[in-house]
């Protein structure tokens, strides 16, 4: 059973509840970005807000995950997260090693634990 109607009606639901509700913030961003000066204090503040928000998203994903990750115990999530960051620094700030290494450690730890 689909949670929305078949055909065009379903897509209309997706556009109204999803696409427009989502895209409107990008349009506001274009309008606001026109008035921002790259060296100004307002720009620095907006940038700090964006950084804190994305960092917050990260910590929420690790500490309070939804879906498949929720079945992995907290200590495995935190240890793999820390290990990924450590790998990143050990490999001279290599993104690939940090990301893939951390995920593989989570996989192995979960298999060993379960």
């Amino acid at each position: 059973m689909s949670p929305i109607q078949d055909g065009l009606g379903g897509y209309l639901t997706l556009v109204l509840a999803g696409v427009l509700a989502n895209e409107i913030w990008r349009w506001f961003g274009v309008a606001a970005g026109r008035r921002l000066d790259l060296d100004g204090r307002l720009f620095q503040w907006v940038r700090a807000v964006a950084l804190a928000l994305v960092a917050g998203l990260v910590s929420r994903m690790v500490l309070f995950p939804a879906g498949a990750l929720a079945n992995v115990p907290m200590f495995i999530r935190l240890a793999s997260f820390a290990a990924g960051i450590a790998l990143f620094y050990v490999t001279r700030r290599n993104l690939g090693f940090g990301v893939v290494g951390g995920a593989i450690l989570l996989l192995l730890a979960q298999i060993a634990y379960a």
Binding site: P3, G29, A52, L63, G67, N71, G102, A103
Partner: protein
Amino acid sequence: MIEHRTTPARAFLLGLRAAYSVAAFVLFATALGFGALARDTGFTLGHTAFLSLTMFALPNQVVLIDQLARGASLASAALAVTLAAVRLFPMVATIMPTLRGSTRRPLLEVLAAHFVAVTTWIEGARRLPAMPEDVRLHHHLGIGVAVCFMMVLGSVTGYLLSVGMPPVVSAALVFTTPLYFILSLVATAKARLDMAAIILGCGLAPLFYLIVPGLDLLATGLVGGTLAFLWGTARP
């Protein structure tokens, strides 16, 4: 000094190469999870691809299908999505001054804004400063098209593969996202203000998640960002 002029077309093609980045791989892995979730909650393959193409913001897409699958009304689903989408606003507002050259291109700017999500924002911070100002918009569009393509491909693949994927594998795939986000933020952080915002964001989010669930990211961004700004600009 010999300087090669970068044409808009070349800048766009260089942007397309972002399809072969760690960012695109991580996004692909995360999109697999979204595809699997969409099938699990009863959406069609068409819906799944459509949402990745038109919303291009995975966490918000997850919020939408989660709401609809729980039988939420159109209005409450839209409200949940729009609250999650507020984070796009500061990202677009801060990337726009970097993108715009000397000429006004309103339509291209709106299109470029569609391709702003955490992944392309981070990739943009890494790649855009090396580009000449007048072709940054085209370069960003190239990155956006490449990354969006990988997201659609990932969600379709995840939808088709979802039957039979062990949960521990999906968990590891989902886990690449927070790791990629945090490492890229750290890798592109410039001033001490940036690091302060990242650390405060990580620390405040769980607190606000427990106090004001639903508004937690907004509160984290505003409070954490403002504190970092005040501290970072207090004494140079």
